[in-house]
Assembly symmetry: C2
Homo-oligomer: 228 residues x 2
């Protein structure tokens, strides 16, 4: 790696390499034996580093989990690009994005419950609602903003501006379902996505009906006031 000073920053490069080695080793062991049965000693051992070194790069075992989650999101954003480029209709765009997440996360389905466990603690920085995960959350919400903005969906402006966050919540629900899904290739979750997305589309189009509009406005107002 070349820095601005013109000196090869091999130390940093090597550090980055070690960091990735530790993470990939941890993820492999998590996959093979589950999160609970993988010890920090085993991770360090398998990666050929000392326990102290593992802690030098990742403050705790949970941080390895968090790093995996960040990785997952990066991969999701990549995989989603061709879908958003190709599809124009709202339904296939949303369904494609949700299915893509299932594909990317598939290898880790077995132990993903553990992530959910640590993530559900509101005081944990790993919570999807925490300040610390705001960047990751915002990036994720942004994907849904693009799903909407690049689509044929016509909606009143105030609902449209809240929708990305609502779709992110929908995905959290899908993830919750996915975590509990023990069917082959998470067939039930895929069925849920396939059926729920057209329904969401129809529900959104319902907001054009005059009698529905009023309630919709109040729902949007409530959501707004909640977020503060």
């Amino acid at each position: 790696m070349i820095t601005l000073t013109g000196v090869t920053d091999s130390a940093t490069a090597k550090g980055e390499q070690t960091r990735e080695l530790i993470l990939s080793t941890a993820l492999r062991l998590f996959r093979e034996q589950g999160y609970g049965k993988t010890t920090m000693r085993a991770i360090a051992n398998e990666a050929g580093v000392s326990v102290g070194n593992a802690y030098y790069y990742y403050g705790s075992k949970d941080h390895l989990m968090q790093a995996y989650y960040d990785l997952l999101q990066d991969q999701h954003r990549e995989v989603v690009e061709p879908i958003l480029a190709a599809e124009k209709a709202f339904v296939p765009r949303l369904a494609g994005v949700l299915r893509a997440w299932l594909d990317v996360a598939a290898p880790y389905h077995e132990f993903a419950g553990t992530f959910f466990k640590t993530a559900a603690d509101p005081r944990s920085p790993l919570s999807p609602f925490s300040d610390e995960s705001r960047p990751a959350r915002d990036a994720s919400i942004d994907v849904f903003r693009r799903v909407i903005d690049g689509s044929d969906l016509k909606l009143p402006g105030d609902l449209k501006s809240e929708l990305p966050e609502l779709l992110w919540l929908l995905q959290m629900g899908v993830v919750l379902f996915w975590v509990h899904d023990r069917t082959d290739d998470v067939r039930r979750t895929r069925a849920l996505v396939d059926r729920a997305v057209p329904l969401v589309d129809r529900l959104l189009r319902l907001t054009r009906i005059p009698g529905v509009r009023g309630v919709t406005n109040d729902v949007v107002a409530l959501i707004r006031s909640i977020r503060t």
Copy 2:
């Protein structure tokens, strides 16, 4: 305690006493220092029993949490009785039941996040979605069935039969919000309940509109197929 054999079952009685002593001590320490900082050693010590004895009654620290949750539900069902007896309209019935939960759970708000944490692990028997907690879940859902059945709410039968479970899910959402709520006396959560309940009522009444009915049926069908 007198058993069917006519013999005083002092052993069992004493055991039950120990069990309750351990639980109440644990809950007190949880309240005073939080879940994380309360050790099993401290619980045993404070209760005047050995660590091994504590584990004899509660298989893990998480099980103490589960026992608390069961206690909470029992209390909730009690507190809710007068509300269901007095109110006939759907909105105050539902709002009353949700507010009552906030009141009952208030002393434990500080560490309740930890419950959510254990609850989110799908493989844990403590998950609210697990088979093991089905009795507790069913009892909880039943409260919402009574909220509906004793009210003036008029709904198509298939939606009405799914509604208790949906309202239970609504409460899970409220709990999620509550866990993250740091305002005094969880003011924001109370505001959420006060505003959301009338909205739920209005949304339910919307299902009478012809154009809405079709989508509603599909939503109900989807929920049905999910539960299997």
